[in-house]
Symmetry: C2
Subunit: 216 residues, 2 copies
């Protein structure tokens, strides 16, 4: 995929070797971590809302209650959406060189509300099916009232940067001679076995799509 020249707002100023501006890098991080932070300005002050995002092509989406303060505040407003995957703790021979292995994305843009009800329902289907393949069509269909109570926001992935750190600590050269353990403590998101709702009707087995391990 093509590389987008970074704008001045998203370009990494320091540690620029950690930066990537190509769509493949950005999309791959958005696709493994639904949890995101949506930052916006409300009454002149910053607010951040943790929520879930999903991607279709070069657009990112998030949703919530139509009564949400966040969703009403971000309509046609500047938004900074970030995703961060924690991959490990980097343990060095000095405090200064301790670090973190991670994959992150910062995405800037102007948020747009998905107004068309049919488009909105199609986007929500992609959201559910992205987490649980082919689940949407197995569900009790959405009602008009539920769709009215739901707002979906979107932003193109145009002004964005990925930032990635991998590998062992980078210590001062002379510190490698010290008798201090250096290395990485890997961290990953672990998806455990499904816990059935006690109110499931007898004999209903967890579908295949609840057993996958796609995240992280």
């Amino acid at each position: 995929m093509s590389t987008t020249p970074p704008t001045d707002r998203v370009r990494l100023r320091r540690q620029h070797t950690r930066g990537a501006y190509d769509k493949a890098s950005i999309h791959s991080i958005l696709d493994v971590m639904p949890m995101c932070s949506v930052g916006y300005v409300f009454d002149g002050r910053p607010l951040v809302t943790p929520t879930f995002q999903w991607r279709e092509g070069n657009d990112v989406f998030w949703h919530g209650s139509s009564a949400s303060r966040m969703l009403r505040a971000v309509e046609a407003a500047d938004v900074c959406l970030t995703v961060a995957v924690l991959d490990g703790l980097v343990v060095a021979r000095s405090g200064f060189h301790h670090s973190v292995n991670y994959r992150s994305v910062m995405l800037l843009g102007n948020a747009r509300k998905v107004d068309d009800p049919e488009e909105m329902e199609a986007r929500l289907k992609t959201f559910v099916d992205g987490l649980f393949p082919r689940r949407w069509d197995t569900l009790r269909p959405a009602t008009a009232q539920e769709l009215r109570a739901t707002t979906v926001m979107t932003m193109p992935i145009d002004e964005a940067a990925a930032k990635v750190r991998t590998g062992p600590p980078v210590d001062d050269e002379e510190d490698y001679a010290l008798s201090i353990w250096g290395g990485v403590i890997p961290i990953r998101m672990q998806v455990l076995d499904p816990v059935p709702d006690p109110r499931n009707i007898p004999g209903v087995e967890p579908p295949e799509h609840t057993l996958n391990d796609r995240l992280g």
Copy 2:
């Protein structure tokens, strides 16, 4: 611990049964998840920086390079710091009632730079030792140059809210009769075995503090 009356900015407007404003709830979430999002306003627009936070008493801290755009922008400025722990995906009988189990904190305040070099070093020690008990004193000591290159920011935990969802899906009463699997897919942060730096000197074993499983 005492309960702080929530300000209007942090009080949950919807799903208020998920909210908690007591220090114990807020502190416990901050303590299990170092990764946070720092939201601030830069040139009138929102920016969010993923970074690590740590807590001492009723204050939260974060740090970075003294050259960091974020750290210079947030000094004496309004900040919204959030922490979110993803505990599971909640799988319901309708798309509408799918949800997420999580523990999150939103903390608002005015960020202050830790100016005193001795205080700053003490805070950094708490940060490292919080992740790796008693590690700081085993390290090559910090140099004056390293401390100058580091900025530590702080904010009191005064205007804050925790938000927590647990448990199975809450479906429409009539949907419980459907032959659709409902339940929770638990998710946790998994800390794996330490990976030694290939440049460790022979015979250095990973210390106990790299083997613990305190996060998540």
